[in-house]
Symmetry: C2
Subunit: 740 residues, 2 copies
């Protein structure tokens, strides 16, 4: 499971138009007072309402957006659906929206016949059917007959996967996989293992690393199901204790720590018509390989599986015969001396069943390549010598000649939709508004639901076409903080500790900022891979809490150091085998800049972070104990040997191979440096960074008689989410008010 | 397991001579400003060294005492043993002390032949042998031959019980009981159960309530062993999670919560010579009875077992035939509408095998009664119409005519040794120095090791005779706080909220106290049964931390409310079925007194307590949120339905029978009243007041968005003990410094 970015309340990415960062001149290594270039300033609003602590999670502070918005999966129709209160609406590009049914109307359907507590949630809309989830029931609504076609009351189920074309449904219950065929009233058990370590069809194989988010894969025809089969009986248990259940319960999860025994994965194939199953032949020792990707060939005769060695340096694309499970050939291989991290599945090109797209950072930035099924790389679809990266693939035009994808081409701080013509290589930017966009493509490839925000409005939900023209605006939420006091936001760039690389910084100044006064500083840090805190979006990605802290008189500072996301392979891997070193050096460049400012009170600098940011917070505090007066670290990794294999070994190797790197990063070796006020925060049910990390650190402080504060959120996992996050905001605020 | 009194660092009871409290006149119920009578003042010492936070557990702050001091179990010899550094010394009343052996000398013994890491610990000295414990080995040292007679290398064992006369050893390993006969080299398994709920010979049956501290009982002849057999398979598991083990471990303990399923206990009898065993016949439904006491008749032919109904109102003394396990007769019965709480075993009278002593609060104060084995109560040995109590039984003279016991006759704040002549009823006080004494009787009944302290010396260890004359002073530790700044201590009495009962209070004033200033107050509270915080001993029982807080400028206040120990049955049971009500009312009498003092800053009152004191702290804070600015509660009981059956149901009945009482005491119902600064503290491994209590309270605060602080000591059980307690002292100190 990837470490999750913290502190941003509801996920809310919004655009905020700014000029692209410019390169500043090169500076010598570890310069003490690096100059920063202020790239943009958003002026303060000094009059208005105030944000209030204890109410930062109030619903009205967040834009409403459009719930359940999704296309009907049919290239010939422009129908889409969305929820409006308790009603499900149907609309199309041409016509007005109309009520499909309300919750209460649906309750009248003979197949329901009882009041519904809420509007069911659409899982899929395809082939004249709406597949909806209500509790653990899957309701199939026939759009032509306007009635419930079937109600599949499944046992309390973990995952669902619906083959829209056939109507077959795959689902898991506990550790086993089942299939309910479209017309059947009974399910077929694909597996039937006791709960002793084998898990079938789970959506969290390899703990969701490598972009894995599901465990079942329907063929395009919807008649055969490929699925993950995982044996984790050799993986040690980690107990998660829930004091809030009565009696108190233990949930023993299998947690594979770096350097220790790893689960073994294979791929099964289930034929719905015959009920037969088979397994893909092992490509290499399963105790030493990952299978990050499982993809059907367009005709359903082959499966392309990505096999990654545990060392994460060697990847093979392997083609299997889906009917026998035998290896047909290795399509291509990829090696990187640092690591190769496949995060997206290959995508077959419509109309060209012998061609697929593949995504690789082999030239330093993630780009799209066109391969044929013999393993020949036909071309770089995007210009792989250019220093920007493809962030995700969106879709193909039906003719297979145009690919749609998101990239940072405009700016590393933006995420825009582009099209590229596979023949001409011509690239067109489709999202005209600067910012970070979220896209759903229509199956025709002609239209796109585009959601983004800006500081002027809360969120815009619109449909654009494949030329970038806005076809229809579905909703424009006003900025919920209109009328509120707003601090001054500054976007900056400054040089990394390597003297070469540009880093982005975000500074928030108190609304009544007076440059002749001195202000305390709160540094908010994440610093780990796969996350970027500063983006061109609403307030440069800053959440309400940091904004509130600026309102309370703090200068709030954030810097995306080397190792963080969307800046390319060299930037990300500068930290390899030595997590904490380059990141800290870069953060200290930010601190040197802050200290050079006359209005910064250098004796009152605090640092806060969660997860990798908790690791960074304690690393900064223990390496520079006199720089940071106060530190608050949530769910921190204390010892990378206690973090999971896939993520941990990618960045740090194994503890056996890299003992020096592990020891240098191990915060237990730095407890003696703790002084001043340090608070650790921990989700009591955290299955990601296990509570043993923070707890062991705290115990070490106790043993050495070093004051330390510690607070556990007993009902939370890897962060404090939902309305109870307000309690955390209050705790942080009080802690900094009392101590900084 | 009884709730353990907290906050007193090392256990250290010392005498400090003061006049006995006098009755003051009666006052109306709930008077607002009760007057207090200052009974004694110990003046401050304003000059000297200061106690320092972070060093309150330093060894030199505590008197050394005499380690391993114990009599040789032989009425004809006055030999005793003690340790001096790494040497074991032997001495007698007549002669000088001589070296028996040093650790290194003992290591030379052929039976050892390896260096010893520490001096073995004497378990028993009897019949020419020293039985010593080293690791899990029992060493038998022959005092005549001066060499190791046998080394019994036992498996990692839980308990040992040595029959001094025969040399037979009983011990437990995990859940089973074994016997090693005196001459044998192999052990006999008395039981052989898998670890699925049956526990044999355990020393914590009924969770150590009713004075139970062992699970095996040798007959006087040492040839037969009675033992507890407990089935707790029906008791729910409570998981204790140890994050500090790698991998993280769960220890599932059986924790019987009030009103839920109880373990079932019976008594086995094992004959060492034949290897045969039998069980005592059940007197009543074992799912509804306790067996608090198992006592052999002097000749080993009978066993007297106390059977207590689960309602704790009905007790039967039952005589069994030890050879068959059959009930011979019910000797007597005792009933109390509130509860009867047997805490001591009957004691057979030497020379009168048909007579035994029994201890009962039936007349309002614990007194000694003489019974015959037909169940006739022959007399009250101590005057049971007098309002003082026997606190423990010490022993009999060999002729059975004189009984030695501890009592509060001198003062409820003292614990002195007395003799009583069974024929004349004449009582003689043997410990002449006022205070709280700790006694070991010589088997002749003529001499007593007497340990006590005072403010002038750290601890006195002496031998007195049965007239109270000091025969020999073994050690006089000087007061380790000689030369330190000392606050002023005041002993007070004031009226309970009932307007009638005298309560004792202890006030500590800052050393530089100035009655024209205003001081913040720290109230330290326990308030539960079986504990008394204020005694006539060193600083009236106050530990170093409270003394330190006074040194820092706080007035430190403590009051023993109704419900606390050593004041008789009515005083203790005023709280019955409504824990928290009378206790709180009494504490508020103390607060009213404090508020009436011109030098008390009534806006700055804090309250602290652990265990029952944690319950009291939060009860006070939530019932009087504006009285207490700061509250710190360690290991608090939050809901009595989550505390154990034996203790919980004695004081509260079952949740089913007393729902109103449980709901009124349930602190989860009072979370809404929390305001200001409240910190909960919890031992992460606490098997007494389970972490579910504090954790659930904290979660309720989070849910209601009420600020709360919480700190877990991951490596500690029901309190923070040993050197790491300094960390807790520091945490408390900082919390009060910052917030009060």
């Amino acid at each position: 499971m990837p470490i999750i970015l913290s502190m941003t309340g509801f996920a809310w990415v919004c655009a905020f138009g700014i000029a692209q960062a410019q390169d500043s001149q090169q500076r010598p290594e570890n310069q003490q007072k690096p100059e920063a270039r202020i790239l943009e300033v958003k002026a303060a609003v000094k009059e208005g309402k105030s944000l209030e602590i204890g109410h930062l999670m109030d619903r009205e502070l967040y834009p409403e957006g459009v719930a359940q918005l999704q296309w009907y999966e049919n290239a010939k129709s422009t129908t889409y659906f969305y929820a409006q209160g308790d009603s499900l609406m149907q609309a199309s590009l041409k016509g007005d929206a109309s009520l499909l049914f309300s919750k209460d109307q649906l309750a009248q359907d003979p197949a329901i016949g009882e009041s519904l507590h809420y509007l069911p949630y659409i899982l899929k809309a395809e082939n004249n059917r709406l597949f909806m989830l209500y509790g653990s029931d899957i309701l199939v609504y026939n759009l032509a007959d306007k009635k419930i076609e079937s109600r599949n009351s499944l046992p309390e189920s973990g995952n669902w996967d619906i083959a829209g074309k056939s109507g077959n449904i795959a689902y898991t219950v506990a550790n086993n996989l089942y299939v309910r065929a479209a017309e059947a009233t009974e399910s077929m058990a694909v597996s039937n293992y006791p709960d002793t370590g084998v898990v079938v069809g789970a959506n969290d194989v390899h703990r969701n690393e490598f972009g894995i988010y599901k465990g079942t894969f329907w063929s395009n025809q919807g008649d055969k199901l490929a699925y993950y089969w995982m044996d984790e009986s050799m993986v040690q248990f980690y107990p998660i204790l829930n004091y809030l259940q009565d009696p108190t319960q233990v949930n023993n999860i299998r947690y594979p720590e770096a350097g220790r025994a790893m689960h073994e994965v294979k791929v099964g194939v289930f034929d719905v018509a015959t009920g037969k199953k088979l397994y893909l032949e092992a490509f290499a020792d399963p105790s030493h390989t990952y299978i990050p990707s499982v993809t059907w060939s367009p005709d359903g005769s082959e499966i392309y599986a990505v096999i990654l060695d545990r060392n994460q340096k060697d990847l093979s694309m392997v083609c299997y015969d889906a009917a026998t499970g035998e290896i047909k050939r290795t399509v291509f291989e990829e090696h990187n001396d640092i690591y190769v991290e496949p995060e997206a599945n290959p995508v077959f090109r419509p109309g060209h069943p012998d061609q697929f797209l593949w995504f690789s950072e082999r030239k330093g930035y993630n780009h799209i390549y066109l391969y044929n099924t013999d393993g020949e790389c036909l071309k770089a679809v995007t210009p792989d010598n250019e220093p920007w990266m493809v962030t995700s693939f969106v879709g193909f035009s039906p003719d297979g000649n145009t690919a749609y994808y998101m990239s940072t081409q405009e700016s590393p701080l933006q995420n825009n939709l582009y099209s590229v013509n596979l023949n001409s290589g011509k690239i067109l930017r489709l999202t005209k508004a600067d910012g970070s966009h979220s896209i759903q493509m229509h199956p025709s490839g002609k239209y796109f639901i585009d959601v983004y925000g800006s500081s002027e409005m809360g969120r815009k939900t619109q449909i654009i076409d494949n030329k970038g023209k806005v076809v229809k605006v579905l909703k424009e939420d006003k900025n919920p903080l209109d009328g509120y006091i707003t601090p001054e936001f500054r976007l900056l760039s400054l040089k990394s500790a390597d003297g070469k690389t540009d880093l982005y910084g975000r500074m928030i100044l108190p609304p009544d900022f007076d440059s002749t006064r001195k202000y305390p500083v709160l540094v908010y840090v994440y610093g780990g891979p796969h996350a970027q805190l500063i983006t061109e979006s609403y307030n440069y990605g800053c959440g309400h809490f940091l904004r509130f802290m600026a309102q309370q008189g703090y200068i709030v500072w954030t810097l995306d150091n080397r190792g963080s996301a969307n800046r390319g392979f060299a930037f990300e891997t500068a930290t390899h085998l030595h997590l904490g070193d380059a990141e800290t050096a870069d953060q200290m460049q930010g601190i040197a800049y802050l200290k050079s400012l006359p209005y910064v009170d250098a004796k009152r600098i605090g640092v806060d972070g969660w997860s990798f940011g908790g690791f960074m917070t304690l690393t900064l505090k223990t390496r520079y104990p006199d720089v940071f007066k106060v530190a608050t670290a949530g769910g921190p990794v204390i010892n990378w040997a206690w973090y999971e294999i896939m993520y941990g070994e990618r960045y740090m190797g194994t503890p056996q191979d890299n003992p020096e790197g592990y020891e240098k990063a191990n915060l237990l070796n730095r407890v003696d440096s703790i002084r001043g006020k340090v608070m650790l925060l921990q989700g009591g049910l955290d299955p990601v960074v296990t509570p043993k990390n923070s707890t062991t650190f705290v115990q070490s402080c106790i043993q050495k008689n070093i004051p330390i504060d510690f607070f556990v959120y007993p009902n939370h996992e890897h962060n404090v989410i939902g309305p109870q996050r307000d309690h955390l905001f209050q705790k942080w605020y009080e802690y900094y008010q009392q101590n900084l």
